[in-house]
């Protein structure tokens, strides 16, 4: 596909169009992803999650700049919530990274969640693959950060960084909300504020209490992102983690799991589509719904009927 070739050669417009195609699940997207698959697997995918106000975007901006010193190619996907009422979104994370706009080897893309509830958009993984296949060394994914439902990030990232910030009032709550399990790193940002040390301490205590004796002990790091403090340590940690993942075989396991989930997802999506299309095409939906409303049958019986129908064809 021409677009794929151009993107792989460094044409940023082509890359941007590819991401749009996969985001919109355009027919050509499948073809593109097929071609790109062979080239994926080199980039380290780093998820950045944390509550609003924790300074994720500023932190990401600094991490990218640090990696750029080593001339690494870095991409950032910044996800913001889509309004459930209007379907629109204000994607404002890019503002905090505006210095990087003119760096040819940095690519920043803003995405709306478009109805997905896990802190990422459904297309984020696909977009990540596109970037991976276009020779980016690092892909950062910045999530919406609502704190409670940040499950998607674990699926999409090799390394997950949880950003905390002192003074949000409900530190313990945030720690309880399941993020202890998903973090490979915890960063207490805005560490120049009161309470920073306390948050770090609490985190360390809770991590120690974690029964699951992990091989990788998630470090708790401190940073003041907008003053560039603590950044080098985090970058070093990111690299250490990737080394650990590779050497321990964890990376392969993670990716295999990810592939399994994806494969099944793609399959189930495809099957669903075929069935839904068929039902629509044959104009039977109205019939089915009418009989359900009249209590002439129940959904479970109907499903059997539909599936038998499909399997026949």
């Amino acid at each position: 596909m021409e677009l794929v070739q151009r993107a792989r050669q460094g044409d940023r417009r082509a890359l941007a169009r590819l991401i749009t195609l996969v985001e919109n699940e355009a027919p050509e997207a499948v073809e593109a992803l097929q071609e790109l698959y062979l080239f994926t697997g080199k980039a380290q995918v780093i998820g950045i999650t944390g509550p609003p106000g924790s300074g994720k975007s500023t932190l990401t901006d600094k991490l990218v700049k640090e990696l750029r010193k080593e001339k690494k190619k870095v991409a950032v996907i910044a996800v913001d919530p889509t309004s459930p009422f209007t379907g629109g979104a204000i994607l404002g994370d890019r503002i905090r990274m505006s210095d990087l706009n003119l760096d040819e080897d940095v690519y920043i893309r803003s995405m709306g969640t478009r109805g997905s509830l896990g802190g990422l958009s459904a297309a984020t993984s696909a977009a990540t693959k596109v970037l991976d296949a276009c020779d980016f060394d690092y892909v950062f994914i910045e999530t919406v950060g609502v704190g409670q439902s940040e499950v998607d990030i674990v699926k999409a990232a090799d390394t997950t960084i949880v950003v905390m910030v002192p003074g949000l009032g409900d530190d313990i709550q945030a720690i309880k909300a399941g993020i202890l399990e998903i973090g490979d790193f915890f960063v207490v940002n805005k560490a120049d504020r009161d309470g920073a040390n306390r948050v770090a301490l609490e985190l360390r205590m809770m991590l120690d209490l974690n029964e699951q004796k992990l091989v990788w002990q998630p470090p708790v790091l401190m940073s003041v992102a907008n003053q560039n403090q603590g950044i080098a340590e985090i970058v070093a940690g990111i690299k250490d983690h990737f080394t650990y993942l590779k050497e321990s075989g964890e990376l392969a396991i993670k990716r295999r799991e990810r592939l399994e989930k994806e494969l099944l997802e793609i399959v189930s999506k495809k099957i669903y589509r075929q069935i839904a299309d068929k039902v629509q095409r044959e104009g039977k939906l109205k019939q089915y719904l009418d009989s359900l409303m009249k209590k002439e049958t129940d959904p479970y019986t109907l499903v059997k009927v539909i599936l038998q129908d499909v399997i026949k064809t």
């Binding site: 106000g53 500023t58 204000i90 404002g92 503002i95 905090r96 907008n226």
Partner: protein
């Protein structure tokens, strides 16, 4: 009859009126709206009576003009003594052209100068930097160095004319240039009268012409307070502004609350820097907006004076009564003026002028009818000035002090605004003060929310703007608008390049090095800035040294 019985009787009588006379009228036709509210969301009663002013305590709540709590005015004779200063904000293109406009305005009866600088100057960029391209001289006059400043005030006696300069992040530098021009005229700093806006907090939250981060900016501001307390005693060292906050879309209540919260932050910073509150507080001044709702605006100014007086006396323990006085300049609300049927704007401005005068302003700028289209043409600015003069000399509103006092409605509004302002100040205190509130985006979000609500109300037809969403008509494009010749930019750049060749560059570099060292320490920077300015160091050069040492501000963008 006992007091209590009197009120009960009145209350009953009002009820009877509502259930009888009013109901009868309503059965013929309803009121125009379900609810009536001011822009701040304060409910507007159909009728206010003494019942609404029951709790008003004349001596404690209103008092007398020139005395605490100053609700009725900061001067004992107000406009019977002297009218407010008629001070039209002006400046564009080159120093020569602006100088001409200033002389014209002074001839036409303006009583003080107000300088508008272009964006590169406001943001500390010389005209020869790439980012200045296209912006030179467009929204104000381009000042790169003392040389331009000399031209700007050529033939204007700085011992006789007071000058207000709308400059913030680089205020210290422009003040230094003003002082240097005065020196050349033989005018000592003790004689200088005027104001620099010097209010960085509202730049962060509403106006956008910031350069350095909050901490070093506060240092520069307190350096100016200190320097002027000693050397330029008649100078207003800051004009703590609500005008721009309102223009960015806030309500009247928010305008006052966020301005006074900023004021609190400045006072705290100066005290932290080691000054005694009475040493500088008398020279703090304010800058408010005069918007459409005549009564809400007048009440707003009265409430602002009362709240600030209490803050200075009780919170900061200021002893000198001068420290308690909220003195302010007002500008009529630019954002209310339309591009459609521009002559209507003359009427809007007249009403807004009334609001400012009934509110007791010390100084006033009236916008011109072409506000939504371009910088004012000579004709348009003259009409704007005449508006002030007509209100002053013909309307009679200045013949007595605070004439709206005692109006059941206005007193009610004043009290209500005061209450809501205190609530906001408490909220901001809880967030850690104005600086923290801005860091967290709280103030920006409040403003953006109000702004959006206003737009929606307008588009839904709940807010009528004559000529815009009602009474529209086909129009011809307006002729005679002021245009800044693009050649101005080139001329300015050339002039700057020549200056850089003709001055003593070694000496300039020396002074800049001194400034750099001083900036890295804790000392007052004004003398160092003055030294550099006198030798024709450019504003950009000085700002670049400070940028190096202080860093640049990264905004928190909240939509």
């Amino acid at each position: 009859m006992l007091e209590k019985e009197k009120w009960q009787e009145l209350s009953k009588a009002k009820e009877n009126w509502e259930k009888g006379t009013v109901e009868k009228a309503l059965s013929k036709f309803k009121e125009r709206q379900e609810e009536f509210n001011t822009g701040s969301g304060i409910p507007i009663a159909r009728l206010c009576t003494p019942l609404d002013a029951q709790k008003l305590d004349y001596e404690n709540d209103l008092g007398f003009p020139g005395e605490y709590p100053f609700t009725r005015g900061v001067q004992p004779t107000m406009y019977r003594g002297r009218f407010w200063t008629m001070r039209q904000y002006a400046g564009f293109a080159t120093a020569e052209e602006s100088n001409k406009r200033y002389k014209y305005l002074l001839e036409q009866g303006q009583t003080g100068l107000s300088v508008a600088f272009d964006l590169p100057t406001q943001i500390g960029y010389d005209s020869d930097t790439p980012i200045a391209q296209g912006e030179i001289g467009k929204v104000g006059v381009a000042i790169d160095s003392l040389a331009d400043m000399e031209v700007l005030f050529n033939g204007i006696p700085l011992d006789k004319v007071s000058t207000s300069m709308t400059i913030n992040a680089s205020a210290a530098i422009l003040l230094a240039m003003y002082i240097a021009v005065a020196e050349k005229q033989g005018v000592s700093t003790e004689q200088l009268r005027g104001t620099i806006q010097n209010d960085i907090l509202k730049e962060y939250s509403a106006r956008g012409t910031y350069i350095f981060p909050p901490t070093p900016s506060m240092r520069l501001i307190t350096n100016v307070f200190e320097f002027c307390a000693e050397n330029v005693p008649k100078w207003n060292t800051i004009s703590i502004s609500g005008y721009h906050i309102r223009e960015a879309g806030s309500t009247a209540v928010q305008e006052v609350a966020f301005t006074l919260a900023d004021g609190i932050a400045y006072v705290e910073a100066a005290i932290k820097a080691g000054m005694d509150v009475d040493d500088f507080a008398g020279r703090l001044s304010f800058f408010f907006n005069a918007h459409n709702d005549l009564f809400e605006e007048a009440a707003k100014f009265r409430a602002a004076r009362k709240v600030w007086a209490k803050i200075m006396k009780e919170r900061f323990g200021a002893k000198n009564p001068r420290s308690w006085k909220l003195r302010f300049h007002t500008q009529t609300a630019g954002s209310t003026l339309t591009a459609q049927q521009p002559d209507n704007n003359i009427v809007r401005v007249a009403i807004q002028t009334l609001a400012a005068v009934l509110g007791g302003t010390q100084s006033l700028h009236t916008n011109s009818r072409d506000e939504a289209l371009a910088l004012p043409s000579e004709d348009s600015v003259r009409i704007a000035l005449r508006t002030q003069q007509i209100v002053a000399y013909e309307s009679g509103v200045g013949e007595t002090i605070d004439p709206l006092a005692g109006s059941y409605y206005v007193e009610n509004l004043t009290t209500e605004i005061e209450k809501r302002v205190w609530a906001y100040i408490e909220k901001i205190d809880a967030l850690g003060g104005a600086v923290k509130a801005i860091e967290q985006g709280y103030i920006q979000k409040e403003i953006a929310d109000s702004s959006y609500a206003y737009q929606k109300a307008m588009e839904a037809g709940q807010r009528i703007v004559v000529g815009l969403n009602k009474f529209q008509m086909e129009e011809q494009p307006v002729k005679g608008l002021l245009r800044v010749d693009p050649a101005v930019g080139e001329a300015q750049v050339k002039r700057l390049q020549e200056l850089k060749k003709s001055r003593d560059n070694a000496a300039v570099q020396n002074k800049l090095a001194d400034l750099r060292q001083a900036a890295q320490g804790e000392t007052n920077l004004m003398p160092y800035i003055l030294a550099a300015v006198r030798l024709y160091a450019t504003e950009g050069e000085i700002c670049n040294v400070l940028r190096d040492v202080f860093g640049e501000y990264r905004p928190v963008e909240i939509l």
